[in-house]
């Protein structure tokens, strides 16, 4: 067992990054990520890491520098939130298109306008189809564990794709929790040496990165990217199995809670899953068979596995901490519906948007969602397919 500590989510992820000890980090401050990169910069200033830290003038340049550094041939990190992720989004697509295994914690925050510094998932959801791997984390322990595993997944020779590690702004990034650290050597052995593929710095074997590809071969490149995405799930599970050996902690593509015999269920990402699990216990105590599924691997989304895990439910509510304006459903709900579409018998699905701009997710909201599902079972009727909850009318 590792060292037990009481730290914030940002501190825990910064510690994971110190233990991984990457070659280059490019960083730009943005709330609520700032404190994570400050801590990392302090490791560099005090010789605790070998990392060259580039303190860039914008997130656009942080991802641009990461692309250059990663193509040069080494392990590269950055971290961001909200507007920062949106500003760098152009280069986020390029990082994955060039198959560069950059690891980037995303401390989830609302997006402007109106400007709001608090936690919701609008930032990472805006980047969900950028060809990156996305691992989502309920708490500081999961953020720490995901950060370490992200390097193994991203750098796997069958994959070579960048990875985001998502954790909720303030709720997780700034709250102190109990967690277990692994020791430095265990982490360092787990991630192993970085293996460069076609590095720019191999001047004896010059390569060109970033060619123009038009109608003749562009589509083949994009298909190749999609093919790689289809291999990610297996690697995530293999890496999780190895991680269990060093930590005792179990990870999958998603977590299920009291789901096997459940009739109704909640699907929710990140920190709100903790609150929801407590409320599910209350419903179970009342004799109502409720359960939960919390996606961990959000991209590539494990449609088949999620579908298999949820298909037996009679009704389920997908809680989205982001909206997809004009798409009628929140982004997570669209994925869950897609996952279940293939089944003849499938649960009734409703979607509730909660917690935008850091609004607290209260047990009463989970109760409301579950009571709605109970009512759907009793009446066979859906009141509202999608609604905002915890909102002033």
């Amino acid at each position: 067992m590792g060292k037990v500590v009481a730290v914030t989510g940002n501190e825990a992820v910064a510690e994971a990054l110190r233990q991984v000890n990457p070659d280059v980090c490019a960083a730009y401050p943005i709330t609520p990520q700032t404190d994570m990169m400050q801590r990392f910069a302090s490791f560099a200033s005090n010789g605790k890491v070998k990392t060259e830290v580039i303190l860039v003038e914008s997130e656009h340049s942080s991802m641009s520098a990461c692309v250059g550094a990663s193509a040069a041939g080494g392990r590269v990190i950055t971290a961001t939130s909200s507007q920062g992720l949106l500003l760098m989004l152009e280069i986020v697509f390029i990082a994955s298109g060039l198959r560069l295994p950059i690891v980037m914690p995303v401390v989830n925050r609302a997006v402007s306008a109106p400007i709001n510094i608090h936690g919701d998932h609008s930032d990472a959801m805006a980047a969900r189809d950028a060809g990156w791997i996305q691992l989502w984390s309920e708490n500081a322990q999961e953020a720490y564990d995901n950060a370490i595993q992200a390097f193994r997944i991203a750098e796997h020779m069958d994959i070579r794709l960048p990875a985001m590690v998502c954790l909720d702004g303030f709720i997780i990034s700034h709250s102190i929790e109990r967690l277990e650290y692994l020791d430095d050597k265990t982490v360092s052995d787990f991630v192993g040496e970085f293996k460069a593929v076609n590095p720019l710095l191999d001047v004896e074997h010059p390569v060109s990165y970033g060619p123009l590809i038009l109608t003749d071969y562009y589509m083949e490149y994009r298909k190749a990217h999609d093919d790689v995405m289809s291999r990610v799930s297996k690697v995530v599970l293999d890496v999780a199995a190895d991680f269990k050996k060093i930590s005792g902690r179990e990870y999958g593509l998603f977590e299920t809670y009291r789901l096997d015999d459940a009739e109704i269920g909640i699907v929710v990402l990140n920190s709100a899953a903790g609150t929801s699990k407590d409320v599910i216990d209350d419903f179970r105590n009342k004799g109502i068979k409720a359960g939960l599924l919390k996606p961990r691997l959000m991209r590539p989304f494990p449609y088949n596995e999620v579908g298999e895990a949820l298909k037996h439910l009679k009704a389920l509510c997908v809680l989205d901490r982001a909206d997809a304006f004009g798409a009628s459903l929140g982004p997570l709900c669209s994925d869950i519906m897609s996952a279940l579409y293939q089944y003849k018998d499938k649960p009734i699905i409703v979607n509730k948007i909660y917690g935008l701009g850091g609004r607290d997710f209260m047990p009463s909201q989970a109760e409301y969602a579950l009571n709605d599902l109970v009512s759907i079972l009793n009446t066979g009727k859906i009141k509202t397919l999608k609604e905002y909850i915890g909102v002033r009318e």
């Binding site: 070659d23 990392t51 914008s58 656009h60 641009s64 692309v67 250059g68 001047v203 060109s208």
Partner: protein
């Protein structure tokens, strides 16, 4: 670093690291500049390239003209991208994982340098990366079809500031990006022209021997955008220098030196007249615009002479006389 003597005979023995077969337009100045820059040095180079004519024409999968490691990321981030490559080099060198001496060059056009890439360039220069940024300045967004940039000279006709009945081409002056880079306090900034190849090659050699961020602005003829002949990129670059429209100077550690002083300063119209983009300026009613453009060139040149005089050593060195 020991380099071959500066003679065409010696340079011609070197391998051309920018291979033929690229798809730049006939008569374009940019590939000439790239070849000269890469011929200038014996260092091993890793290059970055902003999106633009040079980039889209030199690496079309599965072909590349670059016989050195090369990376294209996006339009506005060649400087940030190369700063990342250079940081990885420093990291791996510090860790003993690489022992070679490598130098880093970013190439960008004026759009990718003066405009959309300006912040990225400023940031990389301020951070002190050991890299040379080379802007090939053809004075407009030529790749997308001759739209005005902040490098477009006053009065030039472009597709987004077309000379019309009420507007006589671009109303604004050029942004003086060379001086702005000098204002970053970086160790070396220079302007060069492919017409003066010895001067250009010397500047590249000097820049690469200096540790830290360096910036070179090089005029690049574009017959499509300048509305000129396919065989006159070098002639027009020479006229740009001889009219003092494009003075050849360097600012090394804050000290300005004019590296080529024309024997006789030619009138600006010698540079403008052969170019279709300035044709409308020669209409009788635009006489005042031509006069004003000449005055701007004169003011800039006089100011440059004064800047040089401020720091002039007791005797002027020989190579400043053409």
């Amino acid at each position: 670093m020991a380099t071959a003597p500066l003679s065409l005979k010696e340079l011609s023995k070197k391998e051309i690291l920018f291979a033929p077969g690229h798809r730049m337009c006939a008569g374009c100045g940019a590939p000439v500049i790239v070849k000269m820059v890469l011929l200038a040095t014996d260092y091993q180079i890793v290059a970055g390239n902003a999106t633009g004519c040079l980039e889209v024409s030199s690496c079309i999968s599965d072909f590349t003209s670059w016989k050195i490691p090369w990376i294209h990321n996006a339009f506005e981030n060649a400087a940030a991208t190369v700063s990342g490559v250079e940081a990885m080099y420093r990291s791996l060198k510090k860790q003993g994982k690489i022992d070679k001496e490598i130098k880093f060059i970013a190439f960008g056009g004026d759009g990718g340098t003066y405009d959309i890439g300006f912040q990225s360039l400023s940031g990389a220069m301020e951070r002190g990366h050991d890299m040379l940024y080379v802007c090939y300045d053809n004075g407009a967004y030529m790749n997308t079809g001759i739209q005005r940039s902040s490098a477009t000279p006053v009065g030039a006709d472009t597709t987004t500031c077309p000379a019309g009945d009420v507007v006589q081409g671009k109303p604004q002056q050029r942004k003086d990006v060379t001086k702005i880079m000098a204002a970053h306090g970086i160790p070396y900034v220079a302007q060069a022209s492919p017409s003066h190849w010895q001067d250009l090659v010397k500047k590249v050699r000097k820049a690469l021997d200096i540790k830290g961020p360096k910036f070179m602005n090089i005029i690049a003829g574009c017959n499509r955008g300048w509305r000129s002949q396919t065989n006159d990129a070098i002639t027009l670059s020479r006229l740009a220098v001889e009219t003092c429209y494009w003075p050849l100077f360097e600012i090394e550690n804050g000290i300005t030196r004019i590296t080529v002083k024309p024997k006789e300063k030619r009138p600006l119209t010698d540079f403008l007249k052969p170019q279709g983009r300035f044709k409308h300026l020669f209409a009788p009613q635009n006489e005042q615009l031509l006069k004003s453009a000449q005055e701007q060139v004169d003011r800039y040149w006089e100011r440059l002479l004064k800047e040089e005089a401020c720091f002039a050593p007791a005797s002027e060195s020989e190579d400043t006389k053409e």
